[in-house]
């Protein structure tokens, strides 16, 4: 099969862009798992809420930029409500029950979205300043997609620095590693938990607004993205931010190349990749070993 060089290049750029945006969603999921042991099925719904709130805010005020600012913060508030009134009641109990709780929440949010925005497909209006395309080598590439790539990459880099270098990042990693010890040292772990959950929710909200202007916004997108991000965090190793970023890039690229070769069965490549990784490294690429 002959594939033109320019379409490979285009797919590569698309894959990196998709990967970095998915990394925004996956980052929250993996951080939440690492610290709270929560398998958050509602995380895709937070991403979806970001997109829908983005639709409303941008339509109301006619400004994409305002949507990019307000919608993620609003999603953060939703995240806080979920953590405080839902998850908090379950800490210390078998983490299995988080599946039931967050699955229930995901179903609820999907129902609410249909109720409020209807079942049809919507779209966020991308700003006029980012319209059009640019010529990169042989590829004509939309400016908006470059913008998405830039914003996602910058955010991921910032989060990486924060986790790796800042005091807050150290606190987060410490709480994930040994909650009891951090608690004993006089730090209010439950505040850290809420903070991390809200932080993850905001990142997912940003991804929702960014992709809401290039993909369609529909009630199925929450359940759709959650599988993609599960694949990412599992390949990367649950709880590992670094792993999630690498895996997101891999998933983005595989999706983009897959669409080039065999669009209808791209998912098979994804799941095969995950199965192969787990077969070789049963705890993902950067996951904690069983002894830890």
């Amino acid at each position: 099969m002959f594939v033109e060089f320019s379409s490979v290049l285009r797919a590569t750029m698309l894959g990196v862009q998709l990967g970095m945006t998915l990394a925004l969603v996956a980052a929250g999921l993996t951080l939440i798992f690492g610290m709270l042991d929560v398998i958050n099925f509602a995380h895709g719904s937070l991403y979806m809420m970001g997109a829908y709130l983005g639709v409303t805010v941008s339509a109301q005020f006619g400004s994409f930029w305002l949507a990019l600012l307000i919608a993620p913060l609003a999603v953060g508030v939703i995240g806080a409500v979920i953590e405080v009134f839902g998850l908090r009641a379950l800490y210390g109990r078998n983490p299995l029950y988080h599946i039931l709780l967050t699955f229930g929440l995901a179903v609820m949010i999907q129902g609410l979205v249909v109720e409020i925005w209807g079942g049809q497909s919507l779209r966020i209006e991308a700003p006029a300043s980012l319209a059009g395309t640019v010529q990169i080598g042989p590829v004509e590439y939309p400016v908006y997609w470059l913008f998405v790539l830039a914003v996602s990459t910058l955010l991921i880099a910032a989060v990486w620095l924060m986790i790796d270098r800042s005091d807050l990042g150290i606190l987060m990693r410490a709480s994930a590693h040994d909650t009891e010890m951090v608690d004993a040292l006089g730090i209010d772990v439950s505040k850290v938990f809420t903070g991390v959950f809200v932080f993850g929710a905001v990142l997912a909200g940003v991804a929702g607004v960014l992709l809401g202007a290039s993909r369609s916004v529909n009630p199925g997108m929450g359940f759709g993205v959650i599988i993609e991000t599960f694949v990412i965090v599992v390949i990367g190793g649950l709880g590992s931010f670094k792993g999630a970023v690498y895996a997101a890039l891999a998933v983005g690229l595989v999706t983009a190349y897959g669409a080039l070769i065999a669009p209808s069965v791209t998912d098979i490549f994804l799941f095969t990749m995950m199965a192969v990784v787990l077969m070789i490294r049963p705890n993902g690429l950067f996951g904690a070993t069983e002894a830890a």
């Binding site: 599946i99 609410l112 098979i268």
Partner: protein, 359 residues
């Protein structure tokens, strides 16, 4: 709490007592007898109820099959839709191309479930806990995409095999050498009830057999079982394959009843719903998950008329998980054993919730 402890069902209050005791056995028989009477009565009052009952029985069987690996062996399968769906597709393909004879179709569905589960299980038992769950999910989704994109037709160079997005439609119902007219819904109900009862009895027997005890041992302490000398992985694969057979049977019963096999039967949302049925009903109790299946099917059917029914369904999950930690089965048992105590429990749960949220 580590990742691996996370799947320790001891905390969920599952136990093998109860249903295996004499009282439990009488309970099962009484329930089957009650259902045998309920069918005709429900059908007489409103024919639609019989349809619902069959639906409930099929999903109860599916929930039962998952409870056998999840509740007893501690293997959280997030891909049970794979066995259900492939069993269903096997039935659909046989009915369209070969025969609608139940004595061929149903065993074939069981066999398909066993083979698919053995395949998925063999790969997946290499990982543990949530990683095992994700592997089963991955394989199940691969089957979903295969059916959705109708990959077999591309490979075989024929027009259609799985029917892609639309699925295989307009299937004839099962037949039994003309002995039992299965187009009569009442007969289909009794066939399903009989098979579900048989499955339940065999799973109870299996759970209580030396094999079942080993699986339980694996759930309680996998490393210790391995040190004693059990080939833990092999036990897991066999347990998973057995469970897959029952899931395949459920698929084989469901598809001719709906006269439709579609990719949704293989999708992860079904697997997810199934896990919800188990947790909602009460993990590892066998009857709890069947009850959970009934509740979920009823809620979905009854609520789907309302606006925002998903909101109500989701809220039920949320409320049960926060206030009834051991599922509906746990709540019923405590209500049965000591009603006053159960009311006290509710009060405790509320106080507990307030304290945790306010913290």
């Amino acid at each position: 709490m580590s990742l691996l402890d996370a799947f320790d069902p001891r905390e969920t209050g599952s136990s093998t007592d109860g249903i295996l005791s004499n009282r439990g056995r009488f309970g099962i028989l009484a329930l089957i007898a009650a259902l045998a009477v309920l069918g005709p009565v429900a059908s007489a009052v409103r024919p639609f109820w019989l349809y619902l009952l069959i639906q409930i029985l099929v999903f109860a069987l599916l929930a039962l099959s998952l409870d056998f690996v999840f509740g007893y062996a501690g293997l959280l399968s997030f891909g049970h839709a794979a066995m259900f769906g492939t069993g269903g597709y096997a039935a659909a393909l046989l009915i369209t191309h070969v025969t609608a004879n139940a004595l061929v179709v149903l065993p074939a569905a069981v066999l398909t479930g066993v083979v698919v589960a053995a395949f998925i299980g063999w790969f997946s038992v290499r990982a543990r806990g949530i990683y095992f769950a994700m592997l089963t999910l991955a394989f199940a989704q691969i089957f979903y995409v295969i059916a959705f994109a109708d990959l077999p037709s591309t490979l075989l160079g024929v027009e259609t095999v799985t029917g892609g997005d639309n699925g295989i439609v307009g299937l004839a119902t099962l037949e039994t050498f003309g002995l039992l007219d299965l187009s009569d819904r009442m007969n289909y109900y009794f066939l399903t009830l009989g098979l579900v009862a048989l499955s339940l009895l065999s799973i109870v027997r299996l759970a209580n057999s030396p094999f079942g005890r080993v699986l339980q041992g694996v759930r309680e302490n996998e490393d210790r079982m391995a040190f004693i000398g059990y080939d833990v992985r092999r036990y897991k694969v066999i347990g998973f394959a057995i469970s897959g057979g029952f899931a395949g049977l459920a698929g084989g019963l469901y598809v001719p009843f709906q006269s439709l096999a579609q990719p949704q039967l293989l999708n992860w949302t079904l697997s997810g719903e199934l896990v919800v049925m188990l947790l909602l009903g009460g993990l590892g109790t066998l009857w709890g998950p069947m009850l959970g299946a009934g509740v979920v099917v009823l809620l979905e059917e009854q609520l789907s008329g309302f606006a925002a029914w998903e909101v109500i369904l989701g809220s039920v999950f949320v409320v049960v998980v926060i206030f009834a930690p051991r599922g509906i089965a746990g709540a019923l048992v405590s209500l049965w054993e000591d009603p006053e105590d159960a009311i006290g429990n509710v009060r405790d749960a509320l106080a507990n919730y307030r304290e945790k949220v306010m913290k």
